[in-house]
């Protein structure tokens, strides 16, 4: 036998695999998988960013005539909220590394609130814009990029809620086993980095 680390993975019963996934008693390949997944995800964004940059550089007038100026204050505040939420979230992981489940819950809850504020701000911005999705190439890009990112923030929020619910179960997360915490945090950082690039490209450039 190859040792207990991989055994949980090789079972055939879905329940057992699930059990293995929940209890993480093995060397963790899953973070490795999450990193690979995020590499793939980043290339979706990369593809869209590159398309945006190409439009920017080849279309003679950019943004096309008649595009109203984007307001910077609200998105700026939003950016600050989202970026700082990453640091807040990291404290949650530090807490669980010290077996402090309530700390994890508090920090993750704060992150979730900040994420929700970000999304609300985004929606507020949408509702106050003078242009629509199909007005011109710039506005289409604007909505698709921010919308696709917003979708990712939403997924990140769901992951955080998932961790919060799971953490109600005593002993589910511990300093030994915190895959869910780590994975959702990495995902959140990823979404964060994407936003910073997006903000730079769409709002500032």
């Amino acid at each position: 036998m190859q040792g207990t680390t991989t055994d949980e993975y090789q079972t055939n019963s879905p329940q057992e695999v699930e059990a293995a996934a929940e209890h993480e008693e093995h060397e963790d390949y899953r973070m490795f998988g999450v990193v690979l997944f995020l590499i793939a995800e980043s290339f979706i964004f990369l593809g869209m960013f590159v398309a945006f940059v190409i439009y920017r550089s080849v279309v003679p007038v950019w943004p096309p005539e008649g595009t109203p100026e984007l307001e910077l204050l609200l998105p700026g505040i939003n950016t600050i909220i989202l970026v700082s939420s990453s640091f807040v979230m990291h404290r949650g992981q530090s807490a669980i590394k010290n077996n402090d489940t309530s700390g994890l819950r508090v920090w993750f809850a704060i992150t979730a609130v900040m994420g929700a504020i970000f999304l609300a701000g985004q929606l507020y911005e949408y509702s106050n814009l003078e242009f629509g999705l199909t007005t011109n190439l710039f506005t289409s890009s604007f909505f698709v990029l921010t919308g696709f990112h917003g979708l990712h923030v939403t997924v990140g929020l769901l992951l955080i809620f998932f961790v919060l619910i799971r953490s109600q179960q005593p002993g589910h997360y511990s300093s030994e086993s915190y895959f869910g915490v780590e994975a959702s945090e990495l995902y959140w950082h990823f979404v964060d980095v994407v936003w910073v690039i997006l903000f730079g490209l769409v709002y500032l450039l």
């Binding site: 055939n12 879905p14 793939a40 290339f43 593809g47 199909t134 190439l137």
Partner: protein, 560 residues
């Protein structure tokens, strides 16, 4: 999906210790065993191969005469769109994933893939995506080609095009999930004594393939999402009437779809590298060169996409850059072909079905590779781009390469997968029909393209008819060639001769277990007692009198 999970939960008592046997029902459930999934992949993709082949048959029938008298031109466009999409996304890519799923855990001595449930999810997306794609026939199938270039794709029927997009997105997702699994499994789960350079070459090629999938497929997804917006909502990312740029789509599409060519061929490079040494009884020639050339191909493969756009909106200097990278990629590919030939040279070749398909692979892929170098040259490509020369080239690579490699793999591993031997005579008939049919169908297309026949047309000049008739005849031969295979496979699966654990006396780990392997692959952890291709070396230790010199002189005698 949930119901399937429940079904399989009910069907399988959760006691892995009890000696279990697979039943046929397992293959229709959400099963997490990589061997079940591998076979599910292979069988599903084979069904789609038959469908895609049938579409090609209709197309070739139409092209037997210059006028559109068998199907309407519009329907003809639907046919080749679906033919291309099915053959690429539902036959070759999943079939490669099927082999990799089945073999990689066995080859590296693992009990399963790293993420078995993810693996099953990745598989079950395939039939869903496939049915969605086929379903588009009921709402007006897409007719803008598998490349789906806007603006044409935005003007030829929303429903069919959107179904096509959704299906490609689904199949791409499946491919990405599979790639995550392969990389993690190969990277992390080898038996402790297996270093990087002890890995069977299929593992190397799947590593390279998965890298391409992880980097390329998401960009295709981005293109599909934007195209969807253009199609449904009326944005104009790729629509010039609103200021958009159709060339941007082409870049995004080919950034995936050229690597996709390597995604389709690399797994079969791996399979050929497994098959040849076993049946030639000789170590693979230049293991490291073959292994690392996978990585070189994979890296260069990401830098050549615009050679599909030499006549499109690509400025001259960019054409020159992509010509250079494309030419360079011939070097690692050439290394492989030469090494395979050197592997055969001086061996003791069993000309069984698997080996025949393996040698047929080298022979046909060579033609595709040579025409590939030709079309890399910009001035020449300007002439042949979008003509039947390209059709010939791509079919020599994908049919002569991937599909022959795939059959070599099936004849090689069928005993392992099913526990039964395939019938050799029928296998050889299958090879002869396929190989003759392949050359008959695709060789004349080179000349058609050079003379001036463009591709994707339902009607053509009468002067091209003779060669087209030859192609059509060849395609019928190809259609016939699947019959001996189907009969052979089904019959042998049920009542073929029992196969031993290692009928080919091969050295890779999958042959160290029973045929078919136990549910958890190995009864005890396999021991790596030799390199994957150390043929001839154990003979030395057995009869210690024979030295290398004497063995060499034997070869010399053979040469003379």
């Amino acid at each position: 999906m949930t119901t399937q999970t429940e079904v399989s939960t009910g069907a399988q008592p959760p006691e892995p210790e009890v000696e279990k046997q697979r039943t046929w029902r397992d293959y229709f459930t959400f099963n997490t065993d990589h061997k079940v999934i591998g076979i599910q992949y292979l069988v599903t993709s084979f069904i789609f191969y038959l469908i895609g082949g049938a579409l090609a048959g209709v197309m070739r029938t139409e092209l037997a005469t210059p006028n559109p008298n068998f199907v309407q031109p519009e329907f003809y466009n639907r046919l080749f769109t679906m033919h291309g999409t099915i053959m690429i996304f539902l036959w070759i890519i999943p079939a490669g994933a099927g082999f990799a799923n089945y073999l990689i855990p066995l080859m590296i001595g693992a009990k399963d893939m790293a993420f078995p449930r993810l693996n099953a999810v990745a598989f079950w997306i395939i039939p869903i995506g496939g049915l969605l794609l086929l379903g588009s026939f009921f709402v007006g199938a897409p007719q803008a080609g598998w490349t789906s270039y806007p603006p044409l794709s935005l003007l030829t029927g929303k429903a069919g095009e959107e179904l096509w997009i959704l299906s490609v997105l689904l199949l791409g997702t499946s491919s990405i999930l599979g790639a995550i699994n392969f990389v993690t499994t190969i990277w992390k789960m080898r038996v402790p004594s297996m270093g990087w350079n002890d890995m069977p070459l299929l593992c190397w090629s799947m590593l390279a393939t998965s890298g391409l999938i992880l980097i390329g497929t998401p960009v295709l997804a981005a293109a599909m999402i934007l195209l969807s917006f253009d199609l449904i909502v009326g944005t104009t990312f790729f629509n010039p009437t609103g200021g958009g740029d159709p060339i941007v789509y082409q870049h995004m599409f080919w950034f995936y779809s050229h690597p996709a060519v390597y995604i389709m061929i690399l797994p079969f490079f791996g399979i050929i590298s497994e098959v040849l040494p076993v049946h030639a009884r000789k170590p693979i020639f230049a293991y490291r060169a073959i292994a690392y050339s996978n990585l070189a191909i994979s890296f260069l493969g990401l830098l050549v996409w615009a050679h599909h756009m030499f006549t499109s909106g690509t400025p001259g200097w960019l054409r020159m850059f992509f010509m250079a990278t494309t030419m360079l990629i011939a070097v690692p590919t050439g290394i492989k072909v030469f090494s395979w030939c050197a592997t055969l040279w001086g061996g003791k070749i069993s000309l069984n079905s698997s080996m025949l398909f393996g040698m047929g692979f080298i022979s046909a892929f060579l033609i595709g590779g040579l025409s590939g170098v030709m079309v890399a040259s910009v001035p020449f490509d300007i002439h042949v781009h979008d003509t039947y020369f390209i059709v010939a080239h791509l079919h020599y690579v994908l049919f002569g390469g991937s599909v022959l490699g795939l059959f070599a793999g099936i004849y090689h591993w069928f005993p392992k997968m099913t526990g039964h031997m395939l019938n050799e005579t029928w296998g050889r008939i299958h090879f002869a029909l396929t190989f003759i049919g392949l050359n008959l169908t695709f060789l004349p297309m080179h000349e058609l393209g050079l003379l001036g026949m463009n591709r994707r047309i339902a009607l053509y000049d009468a002067e091209f008819q003779l060669l087209n008739l030859v192609c059509t005849a060849g395609s019928y031969l190809l259609a016939v060639s699947t019959i001996p295979f189907l009969v052979n496979a089904i019959w042998s699966w049920i009542r073929g001769r029992q196969a031993s654990g290692n009928p080919w006396k091969a050295l890779t780990l999958e042959w160290q277990t029973s045929s078919p392997p136990a549910i958890e692959n190995f009864d005890e952890e396999p021991v790596l007692w030799s390199g994957p291709y150390d043929y001839g070396i154990d003979v030395l230790s057995a009869d210690s009198e024979e030295s290398v010199e004497e063995l060499l002189s034997e070869v010399q005698a053979d040469v003379r």
